[in-house]
């Protein structure tokens, strides 16, 4: 199997062969829902950090007894799978408070399907010097809790190694994105999303090997040329390759993004020549901002523009899951600005699983026609 095929395979379901393997060897798996959780700490403790995606979830029947129809379907789907025991392979869950929905997911998961190890970090919602110090403190406390719970020591040396490993995969992904700047990118947007989802669900060392192989394979893979327009996907969490596929089936090739399941997660390198915990806090907080960061409007806008230009896109598709207030509020500002700047902009609201596909296809097709493609 080629690396690409392997990655596609691994992206299909959370409990993939590599995780099974890890468990059988007696390894522990710790889940987390948001990209602001410092995985390196878990990795340095010999644990497998697992970014949770409700991949394959199609109903929220049980979850909706607690969550409601006005809560984010990504979180409802996560809770559903937790209640169904689909995340039974997790030995713990790291919570965080980027938004109300994810904070409440942590509450409901903990109270209705609690796991052995459950800790939560307090994420700042404004990025400044004091916040970096605060989050460093949070990571410090978290490190202590991990060491205590799994009775191990995380020292400069082991943490340094872990950071290097994660920096490496960040670097590979950046290389991968560089390939997408070409006129005929070797990968489609939904393939990239699948690659990233897979990477977040497997031991990172394995992931890096696969990425390295992939990059070699791609050198002589035929580029994609049968597309009507180059698009960028922006907005809230989007781990659903099928959603990207709807856009691409209509002829809009997704060549880049500003997503926490994409560029935002991979673009910040963690410094290793300084106080490591501080460097972690610094790197995580200084990533291109999530909408949860107050006063981050310009930061977000500029990152979007920068990416749009670097990947020479014809338009930006802003997507958010319905009921997401953070990105729903941001839409107000971003919409106004992109209009001012004359950048074609399509705003799509979606549920975690695709519903009303027909209407979405019509919108995307009309958008492509609108930008004359």
């Amino acid at each position: 199997m080629t690396a690409l095929e392997e990655l596609m395979e691994l992206s299909r379901e959370p409990y993939n062969p590599l995780v099974k393997d890890w468990k059988e060897k007696g390894g522990k798996v710790i889940g987390f829902v948001c990209s602001y959780v410092p995985e390196e700490i878990l990795h340095a403790a010999g644990l497998l950090p697992f970014r949770i995606t409700p991949t394959g979830c199609t109903t929220t029947l049980e979850a909706d007894a607690y969550f409601s129809r006005i809560n984010c379907t990504f979180c409802r789907a996560c809770l559903q799978m937790a209640l169904e025991g689909k995340f039974g392979f997790l030995d713990g869950l790291v919570g965080i408070n980027p938004c109300d929905h994810i904070r409440r997911l942590w509450d409901l998961w903990r109270l209705k399907a609690g796991l052995p190890f459950m800790k939560i970090l307090s994420l700042p919602h404004r990025v400044h010097e004091g916040a970096v110090e605060w989050y460093k403190g949070e990571i410090q406390i978290f490190k202590g809790e991990v060491e205590k719970a799994f009775d191990t020591q995380i020292n400069e040396d082991s943490l340094g190694k872990s950071i290097e490993i994660f920096n490496t995969s960040r670097e590979w992904i950046r290389k991968l994105y560089d390939l997408r700047t070409k006129e005929n990118p070797p990968l489609s947007g939904n393939e990239v999303t699948r690659i990233i989802v897979a990477l977040l669900h497997i031991p990172r060392e394995e992931g890096n090997k696969l990425l390295e192989r992939l990059l070699n394979e791609l050198e002589n893979r035929k580029g994609i040329s049968d597309y009507r327009a180059r698009l960028m996907v922006a907005g809230g969490a989007c781990d659903d390759p099928e959603f990207i596929e709807v856009i691409e089936k209509a002829g809009g090739l997704v060549v880049t993004d500003s997503l926490c399941f994409g560029s935002r997660y991979f673009f910040e390198r963690v410094k290793t020549d300084d106080d490591l915990l501080r460097s972690l806090s610094m790197a995580y907080l200084n990533r291109p901002f999530c909408a949860g960061m107050a006063g981050g409007e310009r930061n977000r806008l500029n990152f979007n523009l920068e990416m749009a230009q670097r990947f020479s896109v014809n338009g930006i598709v802003f997507q958010k899951i319905r009921w997401c207030d953070l990105w729903g509020g941001e839409a107000f500002y971003l919409g106004e600005k992109l209009k001012e700047l004359g950048i074609p902009y399509l705003s799509l609201e979606r549920e975690y699983w695709l519903s009303g596909q027909e209407q979405m296809k019509t919108r995307v097709q009309a958008f492509l026609e609108m930008i004359g493609k």
């Binding site: 009303g356 209407q359 019509t362 009309a366 026609e369 609108m370 004359g372």
Partner: protein, 260 residues
């Protein structure tokens, strides 16, 4: 050169034949369970009227939710682009278009060439879509094309319809009937509720004159007049509002040929 546009909506299918810039003929039939069949039928009808057959047509473009299952079309365009294009053919100075189909309602902005510059659609819920008018007409046993005038001829007082759900609005109307309220007064409430929802959709794209209403709803004077009042301008109506989409498709067909 002869081009054709086929528009398969959720309620009706339309086909339109053009020769150069002239409309030769058009036909409209209700969309049956089988969209592909509807497309063929309505195309045949239009061709008959024009005294032409399939092989006289140089290029066909399909649109509407059935655009992909219209097998004989060489190309398909979204109904959004087609309605802008069609409306622009009727009114070259059009800038804002409202198209109200059976289940969705679209507010479209276009430039001086009829090219779409922005648009919004309702989704998730059919509140404020054309279907509700149908449902009401059916309930009150008033022909669809008379709903508008009736809604303006208020007998006692307009009856507010509180629910947004089409299906519940129907039963709300029914219970008003049972209380002996007059059909017109109920329709007045229905049309007001609808025009308010349409207006908020239009406001999202921003309304610039000329404002053109296409689709079946344009025949509903009750909606048209109420919208006009609220916006402080007179909506322009195409002579045959329901064929605007098919017309746009036929025009795109011509462009395709000219592009070569």
């Amino acid at each position: 050169m002869v081009t054709a546009g086929v528009d398969i909506g959720s309620l009706t299918g339309k086909a339109l034949i053009m020769k150069d810039n002239e409309i030769l003929s058009w036909a409209m039939i209700p969309t049956g369970a089988d969209g592909a069949l509807t497309a063929n039928k309505v195309m045949e009808l239009a061709l008959d009227k024009a005294g032409l057959s399939h092989h006289d047509v140089d290029y066909t473009v399909s649109t509407g939710y059935g655009r992909v299952i219209t097998t004989f079309a060489q190309q398909n365009f979204s109904e959004i682009s087609c309605h802008a294009k069609g409306a622009h053919w009727f009114f070259p100075d059009v800038r804002t278009i409202l198209d109200m189909g059976g289940q969705d309602c679209k507010a479209i902005r276009c430039d001086e060439t009829g090219k779409v510059t922005d648009f919004v659609m309702n989704d998730k819920c059919a509140a404020g879509a054309g279907r509700s008018i149908e449902v009401m007409a059916d309930l009150l046993q008033i022909p669809l094309d008379r709903v508008g005038e009736c809604s303006l001829d208020i007998k006692a007082a307009e009856i507010p319809i509180s629910t947004v759900c089409v299906v519940f609005a129907k039963s709300e109307a029914l219970s008003q009937l049972r209380r002996g309220k007059h059909k017109n007064d109920i329709l007045a409430g229905v049309c007001r509720a609808l025009s308010i929802r349409i207006l908020s959709l239009l406001q999202r794209v921003g309304i610039e004159p000329q404002f053109v209403i296409s689709g079946g709803i344009a025949k509903n004077i009750g909606i048209v007049q109420r919208l006009g009042e609220k916006m402080g301008l007179i909506p322009r109506i195409c002579i045959e509002p329901q064929i605007v989409g098919a017309l746009g498709a036929a025009l795109f067909a011509r462009e395709q040929i000219e592009k070569g």
